[in-house]
């Protein structure tokens, strides 16, 4: 921010001469308070408003791993154009308490705006790096709501404040507030609107500058024309499963998976389905497999430790070739680890967990929208290939809110009815020369010989066998069907330069930061590409020639570099391609990648001694310097 415009008095209704609003492309706002202050509600309103305004939005939140209370933040980045990450640094920090200020002032970029509650926060007056805006949030709320009101409603005051400062659509916001609180007491809506109006009026009366307006969206180039919807990743995944014709599931609560089962428990009965809460993780996957065996493709899911408990039954699903969807919302591990923080450290467990040679399909969505679509793809693969399919999402995706184009349901919806047609006399559930198709109970078998499904090695009819030859053949069959799948997978597109210094490879929630990092790296003068892997097992065919076109393949993932210096996907890729150019950028701080971390990681690898000297040292050191800040609110003013 060019010059500070600290208001001269708080609460004074003196007329001020306002400057014209600054035009901005996007903004990163961090709201810091306690978990009972409703800051996530504000974040939700802002995100949904952005969605309804055809703006892009991404949020990021932390909740304390405590039963009640504790410091909490909600960060929202919204604006015009594609938003790929929640932002490395914040443009505006709203601090409700002294601890919010102390803990989060470091996230504010120099020149950013600090908004603080004068009733609770004493900022450092000599800190001139930021524009300090003193707002009587608590007093203002209590005055507005009146009577014996406590400070409940501070969040609505702040929402009003932000609505004025960023010139948000007040009518749409009021609509959202009424929708949200409409079912409750009328007083609640009234008080919320009183606090909102007080917050809205405050900058009007007290600020000269600090007014912003988002650049207009070019409708001609914007999106598909379908309306935007706004939701978090777990919600998108749950409804994706419903669109995929899944009507049955079973689970056991664990953070951050639980909200998927909560949604399905509420929603599935409307679609004639059932979701069972089981006594434990093992019962959950067992019940889901029972549903699948009965002809109704089912889902189960969990997070980290819960997935481990499901592993024996998952091995059965591989052996019995039973279709199943298993969701793992990854979190920090091992063991109970960091339940409310993100990690991508269950990849090996997802691909190799369980006993014996047990090939299965592993997919990972790249953003909230993809959570919806990957559910459809997982269900299609599970049905077509009679295999368990794991969806590896993560804590970051599960709770973050994004806006995306509403899917075309009419074209996507899958009919869930099981196939109970009579099977011919020569029916073999496990043919060696074709993909397994089960006959669910209720289906007549013309030969009168009913099939058995089993975790024992079996012949083509499903009968147990100890034949070494058959075991080898059946093991190969289970492997080959995944190779058949691999041959049908689309080759992932490379964004950026299709050959050159560096190829950045990401998976899961690394996609957005990876895209932004690519832009940054190319601006610094490198020839670089970005490749994102959605299909982790099997990998799509054709990666090897792509990798061969770059001097370094930098695989970025949220797990530890391990004993040999490679993250889990990097290790798999090195094993698969024996390519020494594959290197790792890893971290385990419980947060998603910042763009600057990816850029710095690439820089480190380009500077390393073992690297060919073709990459200019100047470029590498340019990358190693602190990243340029995100577009400033005043950048285009």
């Amino acid at each position: 921010m060019a010059s500070p415009h600290t208001p001269e008095a708080t609460g004074a209704a003196t007329a001020v001469t306002r400057h014209a609003p600054h035009s901005i492309q996007d903004v990163v706002i961090r709201l810091a308070g306690n978990s009972q202050d409703g800051i996530q509600t504000i974040g939700g309103f802002l995100a949904r408003l952005a969605g309804r305004s055809d703006q892009d939005v991404m949020t990021y939140m932390t909740i304390p791993s405590t039963i009640s209370g504790g410091p909490s933040i909600f960060q929202v980045r919204m604006g015009t154009g594609e938003i790929l990450s929640a932002g490395d640094r914040t443009d505006m920090l709203v601090a409700f308490y002294q601890h919010s200020y102390d803990a989060h002032i470091a996230s504010l970029r120099p020149g950013g705006v600090l908004v603080y509650d004068t009733d609770h926060v004493k900022p450092n007056p000599d800190d001139h790096r930021f524009t300090q805006v003193a707002v009587p949030i608590t007093t203002g709320t209590v005055e507005a709501v009146g009577g014996a009101a406590k400070d409940k409603g501070k969040n609505m005051f702040v929402l009003g404040f932000l609505a004025r400062v960023f010139d948000l659509d007040v009518a749409k916001l009021a609509g959202l507030i009424k929708e949200r609180f409409g079912g409750k007491d009328e007083d609640i809506v009234r008080n919320a609107m009183l606090a909102f109006d007080a917050g809205y009026g405050w900058p009007q009366n007290n600020l000269r500058d600090l007014f912003y307006r988002f650049e207009a969206i070019d409708r001609a180039t914007a999106r598909t024309g379908r309306p935007q919807v706004t939701m978090d990743g777990n919600t998108a995944l749950a409804y994706g499963l419903i669109a995929a014709g899944i009507r049955h599931g079973a689970g056991y609560p664990i953070t951050p998976w639980s909200s998927i089962m909560e949604i399905l428990r509420t929603e599935l009965p409307k679609y004639g389905g059932t979701f069972v809460q089981c006594e434990d993780e093992i019962a959950s996957i067992s019940t889901a497999l029972g549903f699948s065996y009965s002809g109704q493709l089912a889902i189960t899911g969990s997070s980290g430790p819960g997935l481990s408990l499901k592993m024996e039954a998952l091995g059965w699903a591989v052996m019995a070739e039973m279709p199943l969807i298993v969701i793992n919302v990854q979190r920090g591990g091992p063991s109970t680890g960091m339940p409310t923080n993100v990690e991508q450290s269950d990849l090996m467990q997802a691909i190799y967990g369980s006993h014996g040679d047990s090939p299965r399909v592993v997919l990972a969505p790249r953003n909230v929208e993809d959570c919806f679509h990957i559910a459809l793809e997982a269900a299609r693969i599970a049905r077509d290939y009679s295999t368990p399919v794991l969806i590896l999402t993560d804590q970051g995706l599960s709770s973050r809110i994004e806006a995306f184009d509403e899917p075309d349901f009419a074209a996507l919806m899958v009919n869930p009815a099981p196939d109970l047609s009579e099977r011919p006399a020569d029916f073999k559930p496990y043919p060696l020369d074709a993909i397994t198709r089960h006959a669910p109970p209720g289906a007549r078998i013309a030969s009168g010989k009913f099939p058995t499904v089993t975790g024992l090695e079996h012949d083509e009819l499903g009968h147990p066998t100890g034949s070494p030859k058959l075991h080898q053949q059946m093991t190969a069959k289970r492997r080959e069907k995944l190779k058949t799948l691999a041959a049908s997978l689309p080759l992932p597109e490379v964004t950026g330069d299709d050959a050159g210094d560096v190829l950045l490879v990401t998976w899961g929630s690394g996609w957005g930061p990876g895209r932004e990092a690519l832009t940054r790296v190319r601006q610094a003068g490198l020839t670089a590409g970005h490749l994102h892997l959605r299909h982790l097992n099997p990998l799509p065919n054709g990666l090897e020639p792509i990798f061969a076109r770059y001097r370094r393949i930098v695989v970025a993932e949220l797990n530890d570099e391990g004993l040999y210096g490679f993250g889990q996907l990097a290790l798999l890729l090195r094993a698969r391609f024996a390519n020494p150019a594959i290197v790792s950028v890893c971290k385990t701080d419980g947060l998603t990648f910042k763009v600057s971390e990816l850029v710095a990681g690439i820089g480190r690898h380009l500077e390393s001694r073992t690297l060919d000297t073709a990459v200019g040292a100047a470029t590498a050191s340019a990358l190693a310097r602190p990243a340029p800040t995100a577009p400033s609110p005043t950048a285009s003013s």
Binding site: G51, T235, Y293, P441
Partner: protein, 319 residues
């Protein structure tokens, strides 16, 4: 298997076929692999008769099992079915039953599968009252793995894992089942074929979670375990006399199967106790019915909207 272009088969066309009464011949599959003299043969023979009697459509019968000697059962019955992992046949079969209310689900297992590794599932399937029939072939020993202590092994029984005799108190199956909320609890003996047929038939007709525990001797590792209840071996075979509600004085002394406390009293009798139906509760709704009720009410609230309309309406609210 070198090809990586496996063809994906298409579903065959449906064809009509008339239902025929089930016979032992139609129900027989692979020859049992149990040891000669194993009590499980008698349970299998009785089960064929049960299916003949019930005469369900053949393709709608499902038999499933966990791991153990008795859990090989589904291989020897020609119906849809299979063999799941150790101890988890109950939650698996609950999925079948809740997924497809038109099916008749039978689950088979032994004392290890049912009371040890699957103990938690037994409790929860019972309390949920999932509609299925569970037959536990209890032999008081781990046979498939060649004589280790089972959860029902009596105190002092010498096994490879308790060479000086079992020191952990055994599970009392009837007490455990009653305490878990099972709505049909019965006990039988593998030497009493007609009694087994009667118990399993009544269990299958019970609308809810029904369990029959059958003492089935392991001739290899625990011969003579159930002689105390076998008259041919000098034991006492005591059958529970059920109340007939005929107003006679002797009826007062008979067992009321709906009386849970009376069932506990029978369960606490010293070994070998008595055989028959301990408890039958027809009032408790099944989970199948409760879930169907949830669906019916949810469908009513949404005015029977199509799946497509429902999903579109949900997303419209998230705009």
């Amino acid at each position: 298997m070198s090809s990586s272009t496996l063809p994906v088969p298409t579903s065959p066309a449906p064809a009509a076929a008339a239902s025929v009464p089930l016979t032992k011949k139609a129900l027989t599959a692979d020859h049992p692999t149990w040891c000669p003299g194993c009590g499980d043969f008698a349970v299998l023979a009785a089960f064929y008769r049960v299916l003949e009697k019930l005469n369900y459509p053949h393709e709608k019968i499902v038999t499933f099992a966990g791991i153990g000697c008795s859990s090989r059962f589904p291989y020897f019955v020609n119906t849809h079915g299979g063999h799941f992992i150790h101890g988890r046949a109950l939650p698996f079969s609950a999925g079948i039953s809740l997924g497809r209310d038109d099916l008749h689900v039978f689950v088979f297992g032994g004392d290890g599968d049912g009371f040890s590794i699957g103990g938690n599932h037994l409790v929860h399937t019972a309390r949920k009252n999932v509609r299925l029939t569970y037959v536990i072939m209890d032999n008081f020993v781990y046979g498939l793995t060649k004589k280790q202590t089972s959860p029902t092994s009596p105190l002092g029984f010498k096994t490879k894992t308790d060479p000086t005799g079992a020191i952990d108190r055994p599970i009392n199956p009837m007490r455990t089942l009653l305490n878990s909320g099972a709505t049909f609890v019965a006990r039988s003996h593998a030497t009493q074929v007609n009694h087994m047929i009667e118990m399993m038939t009544r269990a299958a007709r019970h609308d809810g979670f029904s369990v029959v525990e059958i003492n089935s001797e392991c001739v290899e590792f625990y011969p003579g375990a159930f002689d105390a209840a076998n008259p041919r071996k000098g034991g006492t075979w005591t059958v529970i006399e059920e109340k007939k509600h005929d107003g006679t004085p002797e009826d007062a002394a008979r067992h009321d199967v709906t009386d849970e406390v009376a069932a506990y009293r029978l369960a606490l009798q010293p070994w070998p106790g008595c055989y028959g139906v301990f408890y039958e509760n027809k009032q408790q709704p099944t989970k199948n019915a409760l879930e169907a009720g949830l669906i019916a009410r949810a469908r009513e609230r949404t005015k029977q909207a199509s799946d497509l309309a429902l999903l579109q309406a949900t997303f419209a609210r998230m705009r």
